[in-house]
Symmetry: C2
Subunit: 416 residues, 2 copies
DNA sequence: CGGTAAATTTCACACCGTGATCTAAGTGTG
DNA sequence: CACACTTAGATCACGGTGTGAAATTTACCG
């Protein structure tokens, strides 16, 4: 009920800065002239706002466009080098830290392999923090980027990330043995990271979903669901253009939607979950039960063998039916414009399954909402987790019209 | 990406007017002093905004509170008589039109019985429009309320209401035989309703959900799902304080969530829907299959008999398991703070089923999100559909700080 | 009747967006 | 090569806004 803080006349300017900055960022180089109608601002305001952004170094001129018989328009764009963002992917076997400029072009990357997991498969949170901090300093040192120009660091982790508390993001990761690990607080502990750098922690699947929305199959949709099928199954729900989080940031746990009351046991302890039928781990298990076997050591290779095997048609059709039913649930409940099937297993199975999945979804979903929806394959691989993570601070940067950065820079200068 | 039009300094004022008005409306009489911290506005602004609202007649003084040794605070409240709203419920057997003042106290009510339905159970849309218009004039005439003081009319109808088109709300109601009926355009046709009156059409179940959010079991929650179990099953999803609509306003079709791939045939044509197990119609059908019988003519009476029958324990336990699994899906996907079980059948079954439903939901849902959720019974009966409908124009009124009303009033005055 | 305390109002100030007007920077023509 | 023409962008007076401190109002208490 409090709403956004748009109370004073200054907030108005910040808001308009943000509008202009976002428009320039997403819709490429634009002239002041074009910016006016696009942002519903008067020419005078455009001039003022742009002048301010240029003075702050956030926007720069990018050539000009001739016009027949008149002053040429000067094109403007967000200066790619005016800030940097870092994306971190805490994966199953390694921590990847990537440095991007504002246009999300990769400037540097560091992969730090995780030490062998403890026998029970849990991660040591302190070790993760060390690897993130180490990767960050390495990536900065290698490129000469100063911490002061960092807009922020986005971190994708496995498990549920609850950011509703006061002390920063807390991670609950059943599969990695994390129970309420205060990752954000640990990273903010003195000595770990350069101070004053904004941190954004989110579930890795959701950051992948963000990447798909910004640069992949979700582009342009206001309401979409990015499904992520890997060893397990998750989803990233976009409602009215923003990721829907729920009350404790754990919305979109699609994998544990019930498709068969009293059905197959799922690794979550419940029965009949979607994940128990279409997750890669479960799918392989079902294959084994049906007499199948494979030689690959990893799930990805095994799944490829399953796809290539001659006698798995019925298993795959059954999988398509369950996946279609699960997608129908998404259609009925969220009424999105687009559903994207992603995740490494989703992309691997996609070409074979997408058509039967569409048919199954059509039969299980209500006609009207299904007619509004397209079901597509994702376009980005699992590599995009870091890009999606980097998207978190960048989105904040654009929303605040770059004000956040100013604060950081001045904060850093206080310490200088 | 366009965002709300808060560009000029004037929009700032409108926004603050809305904040103050809403706070006064929902949190009862308040003094200017208390309003300051509550709205994050300075004392000076509060004075200005309140003076404006009082001058417009939207806010009035409501006594004062003594303080020991100081000027007493003057309490302010939204003037209940400064405007009126109308709620319409297009039900299965009658059209009900109710007139409320701003505090949603009922001033008048008219029930117009529907003529006997056509043999195929379809409604004649023109007849409905006539009944709505007739009820509206009757209710206004009976109380002497002028159309000029009408904030707007909210209408709850069965079926999916798609408001995404340009020509107003369009209704798709499979059960009443409506296929893309342009109800809003028909109501706006000259001669039907007093001109210039804002219309708001929404699904009746969703208006009931709104009522439950404003005045019932949903009060205070930011993320909630109001489930509505009647003959069929629906839901109203509240995300971040606002009803989530999806891309064509048909989000929340929870009743056709798949709980049993290849399960019972549902009246929607699909299989294994939640509605096919826990909807009143389906539940009675299942009882009949198990050898049960009843004497009541209507579903409500029949369901009461089912509850009282001695041998329906297993049937009810099974129903609770399905309902619990369906609720678990809501928990996993939406991660709400609260789930309310409502609808006439939900309220009837509630006392018997709520505990086993909670247990089933706990077993099917993920631990973390389930721990954030409470599952409660609704507090409002089906009568609240009109209240919920009236809530639609009222919400707009509060959001715009009463600006909408000003436009209407002046619009009416143009017409002499 | 004066002193004290708390709630409101008033007011100078720093901003903001608008839209008309002015300036800059090109093209085309005689 | 000068001049008119055209279009992009900058400037500026104006009406409007929230802020926060000072002034004013309105009570109670001794």
């Amino acid at each position: 009920m409090a709403g956004p803080r748009r109370r004073t006349v200054r907030d108005l300017r910040r808001n308009n800065r943000a509008t202009v900055l976002s428009k320039l960022y997403f819709d490429g180089p634009l002239s002041r002239q074009e910016l006016g109608p696009l942002t519903a601002l008067s020419s005078g305001s455009i001039s003022n706002v742009v002048a301010e952004l240029v003075a702050d170094g956030l926007v720069e001129e990018a050539g000009s466009v001739d016009s027949d018989g008149g002053r040429p328009r000067t094109l403007l764009r967000v200066a790619p080098g005016s800030g940097h963002v870092v994306g971190v992917d805490v994966g199953e076997t390694r921590v990847r830290v990537e440095l991007f400029d504002l246009s999300l072009s990769e400037l540097a990357r560091v992969d730090a392999p995780l030490p062998l997991a403890a026998p029970d498969g849990t991660y040591d949170a302190h070790e993760i923090v060390r690897l993130i901090a180490g990767g960050l300093t390495e990536v900065l040192a290698g490129t000469g980027v100063t911490p002061a120009s960092l807009i922020g660091v986005g971190i994708g982790v496995p498990g549920i990330v609850d950011a509703s508390g006061a002390s920063g993001a807390v991670v609950h990761g059943q599969t990695i043995g994390w129970e309420a690990v205060p990752l954000e607080a640990m990273l903010r502990a003195p000595g770990e990271l350069p101070p004053q750098i904004p941190l954004f922690v989110d579930n890795g699947a959701k950051t992948l979903g963000r990447a798909e929305m910004w640069f992949g199959a979700g582009r342009g949709a206001r309401n979409a669901v990015i499904t992520l099928i890997g060893s397990g199954v998750g989803a990233c729900v976009i409602a009215d253009g923003v990721p829907y989080q729920g009350s404790s940031s754990s919305a979109g746990e699609w994998g544990h939607t019930v498709l068969q009351v009293g059905g197959r046991l799922c690794r979550c302890g419940s029965r009949g979950c979607l994940e128990a039928y279409v997750g890669a781990e479960a799918l392989l298990e079902r294959w084994r039960e049906a007499g199948g076997s494979w030689t690959a050591q990893d799930e990805e290779g095994a799944l490829a063998e399953l796809l290539a095997a001659p006698d798995t048609g019925q298993l795959l059709d059954e999988t398509a039916e369950f996946l279609g039913a699960g997608i129908a649930d998404l259609v009925n409940l969220f009424n999105p414009e687009r559903i994207v099937v992603g995740g490494w297993a989703g992309l691997l199975l996609g070409p074979r399954l997408i058509e039967p999945v569409r048919r199954a979804a059509a039969s299980y979903a209500l006609r009207h909402p299904f007619a509004q929806t397209t079901v597509e394959l994702g376009r980005l691989g699992a590599d995009a987790v870091t890009v999606g993570a980097a998207t978190l601070p960048l989105a904040r940067f654009l929303e605040t019209g770059g004000a956040e950065r100013e604060r950081i820079v001045s904060g850093a200068s206080w310490m200088g």
